[in-house]
Symmetry: C2
Subunit: 270 residues, 2 copies
């Protein structure tokens, strides 16, 4: 999917909501546990109930790998279901991968070709030759970790190199890499006040913003500092939406939470 197609979808749906499909079998409604594939059954109901309210889905691969082959099958079925029924929706494999060149190419093939995701999240620690193999895929997007939403972000990401934070070096350096136009960045909503600085470095890139809701980030603040003429934001919510209820009405409850966020977004977009 091109960035232009994503922007068009945002304007059409009046939403820049991304829903995180982080399925934990300890948290889903118990009646689903008798299904042949409880993880996919859960995702299918969530997708059916929310696809008109969001523009992106983001399964975090950890939640699938934790269930071994069963989990990997559920991930495959989930991405196939989205791509078949809602090809207009942007898909993100939240995998936080990154390795030496030939190995990153294997990861890129896994997520862009085998699973056919539109994008994948990548960690920057190993530098240019660990990220460029992902960037080589046309109309696929590499979402680089810049400033994450967790407390541990202050351990290394905000430390100063030549009076400039590590995450700003990541932003600036990555802009010089081959096919940098395929880059997006992860910036946590819990650090909204950093967004003005970030927009000075990367005025137009899309930012994937986790941490609104359960982690305490504020939507209005994020939009105030981070929004561009072409929106430039994907706001992710996972637990706050998919675990809104855990009885037979869970999908309806999820849609209701998604609708709340979509309506706040519609107001902001006016």
């Amino acid at each position: 999917m091109t960035t232009q197609q994503l922007v068009a979808e945002i304007r059409k749906k009046k939403s820049f909501l991304c829903i995180g499909l982080d399925v934990d079998l300890n948290k889903i409604p118990t009646h689903l546990l008798t299904e042949e594939d409880p993880i996919f059954a859960f995702n299918k109901e969530i997708i059916d109930a929310t696809h008109h309210l969001c523009v992106a889905y983001k399964p975090n691969t950890a939640f699938y790998e934790a269930y071994g082959i069963k989990g990997w099958k559920a991930l495959e079925k989930t991405i196939q279901y989205i791509n078949t029924n809602h090809p207009e929706i942007f898909t993100i494999a939240d995998a936080k991968r990154g390795d030496i060149g030939n190995t990153s190419t294997m990861y890129a093939q896994a997520f862009f070709e085998d699973l056919a995701f539109d994008s994948v999240t990548v960690a920057p620690y190993m530098g240019k030759d660990s990220v460029e193999p992902f960037l080589a895929f046309e109309d696929k997007h590499t979402i680089l970790l810049a400033l994450t939403s967790n407390q541990g972000a202050f351990d290394f990401q905000t430390k100063l190199i030549d009076n400039k934070e590590v995450y700003k070096h990541v932003l600036e350096t990555s802009k010089t890499w081959k096919n940098a136009h395929n880059l997006m960045y992860v910036v946590g909503a819990t650090k909204a006040e950093y967004l003005a600085d970030i927009r000075r470095i990367t005025p137009n890139s899309f930012l994937l913003v986790p941490g609104v809701g359960a982690q305490g980030g504020n939507l209005q603040e994020v939009c105030k500092y981070g929004m561009t003429d072409d929106i430039g934001l994907l706001i992710n919510s996972s637990r706050g939406i998919i675990y809104a209820a855990n009885d037979s009405n869970f999908a309806k409850a999820a849609a209701s939470k998604a609708k709340e966020l979509q309506q706040q977004m519609e107001t902001i977009l006016k």
Copy 2:
């Protein structure tokens, strides 16, 4: 496996060799491609031929994920085969994972419990709360990326924060984390001259050292600067061993390359 057990195995085998099981279907002998599971068939022959020469096996998960469910099955069969037939061998899931706390816990369960690896490689960018969930597992080891063997290591890892390289901050900071005794570190052999400095910060930790052989690192140099009283080194070779030949004698050729390295190690250990 405890560190003491690993050290005992090194002394017994006179080897601190780790073999990287990075199986690429384009590189294995073509006669294996008709097997039901060519990846596992390849690994099984390599393991049967080399297990007496090495103390660790390290599958890089990228090579398995690239083949989807088939790949994940081959990974499961490989680790089960090692754990069943050679439980004395230390196993490393080279996964370079790392995510916010609850998600890192899912990864830790995937690799330590579901797949029963002894250790997993983890990226440090997201800081303390992304790594501590791995460290919480007793007698399991978290191998943190410090200084990697690729060119991109110079993009961020060697940059200076308060006159000290980023990777040194990673080493020092990680030593303060809960259950830090379960930490090991990745340090590339292509940067052997950095090892003296690294040993000043972490005099006793085991270091996993990739980059000997195909990537140009020198074994003698690494040992000169990195070896401790309890050895403290695992030297990895992947392509140089497993792709020594690609005809029906590939396993024999791999054993011969592994034997060369083991004998160099035996001489160093004297």
